[in-house]
């Protein structure tokens, strides 16, 4: 009974939200149901998103809600963004290429959701993580909503640009990571030889010292010189520890689910 009421309420809110946001500008890419943006901000973002879609053939979307769980029976924010994507028939072209950033304010959840050939190719698993960390998470963390979305659109444009140049953003094309690896290589070239040389030289120096005191008298225990008088092993108790296994993604690429979506989600 309660659930039905909740569903009814959700549908109502969705309708309400739609009617509200549709008023000031033509909402095709930016759906601000949580009311984080002013009309002019939403309008500016809408224009940039449209521009990205026109240039690269991949829709860039923003959706904000107060609580994703009130929509589509969504058990997770991933479910919500997929539901929203399909419900609103988002995506450009036959392939429904798109990248969607969903924010849910109740628990401060976000999800980056890509769809379609271009979407999944431009926004790899690694790329989505970078998009979140380097572009918008810090802004959202301090409640700078417009700045965060603006940075998000910046990132999308850059990623789509790289894909258009046949070099989609991924682990081995990320310029920052390549730079880090370059620095790492230099550290290896400098530090490893120094440490190795030091160890080798200290071992050689250690070999110069052969006179050492004996601490044991094992050599002077005669045969059968050890007699054991008591050997009791008493079992006390068993304890258990559980450690979550961290699954590590290796290599690059995008893990696309059966619905054709790929995600990267978390908290902001």
């Amino acid at each position: 009974m309660k659930k039905q009421i909740l569903c009814l309420l959700a549908a109502l809110m969705l309708l309400l939200g739609l009617s509200v946001s549709a008023s000031a500008y033509e909402s095709a890419h930016v759906f601000d149901y949580a009311g984080l943006l002013t009309d002019s901000e939403a309008g500016a973002l809408e224009a940039r998103c449209q521009d990205a879609e026109d240039t690269y053939g991949c829709g860039v979307y923003i959706v904000t809600v107060n609580d994703y769980s009130l929509y589509y029976d969504a058990g997770s924010i991933e479910n919500f963004s997929e539901g929203f994507f399909l419900d609103f028939e988002l995506g450009a072209g036959e392939d429904q290429n798109g990248i969607l950033l969903a924010l849910s304010m109740a628990e401060r959840d976000y999800d980056l959701c890509a769809h379609g050939m271009i979407g999944n190719r431009s926004f790899t698993d690694y790329g989505k993580g970078v998009l979140a960390e380097r572009y918008f998470l810090s802004e959202f963390g301090s409640d700078n909503w417009y700045a965060g979305f603006d940075r998000y659109v910046d990132g999308c444009m850059e990623f789509l640009q790289m894909d258009a140049q046949d070099e989609p953003f991924d682990q081995n094309t990320d310029p920052e990571r390549l730079e880090d690896i370059g620095v790492l290589k230099w550290i290896v070239v400098i530090v490893v030889p120094l440490l190795t040389a030091l160890v080798v030289c200290l071992v050689m120096k250690g070999n110069m010292k052969t006179a050492r005191k004996q601490t044991h008298a094992d050599a002077y225990i005669p045969q059968n010189g050890v007699r054991m008088l008591r050997q009791d092993d008493v079992y006390l108790t068993t304890t258990q520890t559980r450690v979550k296994i961290e699954t590590q993604k290796s290599g690059g690429g995008t893990s696309v689910n059966s619905g054709g979506f790929s995600h990267s989600s978390g908290k902001f």
């Binding site: 070239v189 052969t210 601490t215 094992d218 008591r230 050997q231 068993t238 450690v243």
Partner: protein, 370 residues
């Protein structure tokens, strides 16, 4: 005992005999004859009897010692016999004993060349001896070998020290016999890990492990010479006690003997320490099949037994280098050699730079060029 003849003369030419480690015989420098110790001792029949008696006495005394309490040292006979003389080193205070025919020219401990001859008195005669088995040539070769493959050794060092001056010295040792009783409680765990879904689950079984037992020790050697660094003597262990003989002056010609100047009581803590550590080790090694094992409560009681005064053969060379003393010692029975060597810091940093530079170049090629 006063009529004892201790300087062995060659039965053929009456020249002085000296004991050669390589052949295990007494050799004559003049006519080249050689005799086994037994032969000579048979000739000096009284001597033989004496030695046998000394051995029997030592064994008998040993058998009478109580099992616990203080380390019990047998009261030895007086070593002052005709034909024996002593040298003392004014520089380090070492007092060396040798037979009449042996001339000592320098102190084996400090290298001082003005050692003062004197009359041997108040020295205790050792109970046992292991005769020299390796010759001076062996010792020289071993020392030369010791300098090899030491890239950090200053080149001048090996050139400047006079390896030929290496001397054979019977070093005084107390051999400690006894046992140790241990009663130890350990806390041990055994862990097994398996996977359950997204979790690694580790089950740890906890045990209380009790071990008690007795460990016997035979003849733990502790050098009784204050001049001899303990590290040097510990490092040339072990000696093969199968060749332990009742002491006889017949083994002395050609070598120096140092008389003890550290008492049994002062040496005992080192023997106790080693007994204790080995006893704990023996108990610990019987605790198996656990992934961790921590001793919680330990009781080790040492039961002190007899102590034997013994001479062990050591080839020694003392060198000074840039104001520092370097003492090399080689086990005169097994050839095991020890002695710290000086480090050339110039060579140290040259090697450091060479290794670091070379490796950096290789890594740079591997990481950047490939």
């Amino acid at each position: 005992m006063a009529d004892q003849i201790t300087n062995y003369k060659c039965p053929a030419c009456t020249g002085p005999l000296h004991f050669s480690g390589a052949s295990g015989k007494l050799e004559c420098d003049y006519c080249g004859s050689s005799y086994s110790v037994e032969e000579i001792e048979a000739l000096y029949e009284k001597k033989d009897e004496q030695a046998a008696q000394a051995a029997a006495e030592a064994e008998q005394k040993a058998a009478q010692q109580p099992d616990e309490g203080e380390w019990a040292q047998p009261e030895g006979a007086d070593w002052a016999e005709p034909g024996m003389k002593s040298y003392s080193c004014p520089s380090c205070g070492a007092e060396l004993i040798c037979d009449e025919t042996t001339a000592a020219t320098s102190c084996p401990y400090c290298g001082n060349t003005t050692i003062v001859p004197g009359q041997l008195s108040g020295a205790r005669k050792p109970d046992y001896i292991i005769p020299f088995k390796l010759s001076k040539e062996d010792a020289v070769a071993a020392l030369k070998n010791h300098y090899k493959k030491k890239p950090l050794l200053p080149k001048v060092f090996s050139a400047q020290n006079h390896i030929e001056k290496i001397q054979g010295v019977y070093v005084p040792f107390w051999l400690f016999n006894g046992s140790a009783d241990a009663d130890i409680r350990y806390k041990c765990t055994r862990s097994m890990t398996h996977r359950e879904g997204d979790y690694d689950v580790t089950d740890t079984q906890h045990f209380m492990v009790y071990r008690a037992g007795t460990v016997e020790f035979e003849k733990i050697p502790v050098d009784a010479s204050s001049k001899m660094p303990d590290e040097n003597m510990d490092s040339i262990e072990p000696f093969d006690y199968k060749e332990l003989k009742a002491f006889s002056n017949a083994y002395l010609p050609g070598f120096l003997a140092d008389k003890y100047d550290v008492s049994v009581d002062d040496c005992a803590p080192r023997a106790d320490e080693r007994c204790k550590a080995s006893c704990e080790g023996a108990m610990r090694s019987s605790v198996t099949g656990y992934s961790t094992c921590v001793p919680e409560e330990e009781h080790v009681r040492i039961r002190r037994g007899k102590v034997q005064y013994t001479m062990l053969p050591v080839w020694m060379l003392h060198t000074k280098w840039k104001g520092k003393d370097y003492l090399f010692s080689m086990n005169g029975q097994t050839g095991k050699l020890t002695g710290d060597l000086p480090v050339s810091w110039g060579r140290f940093w040259a090697y450091f730079a060479g290794i670091a530079g070379g490796l950096a170049a290789v890594l740079a090629v591997l990481l950047f060029a490939l």
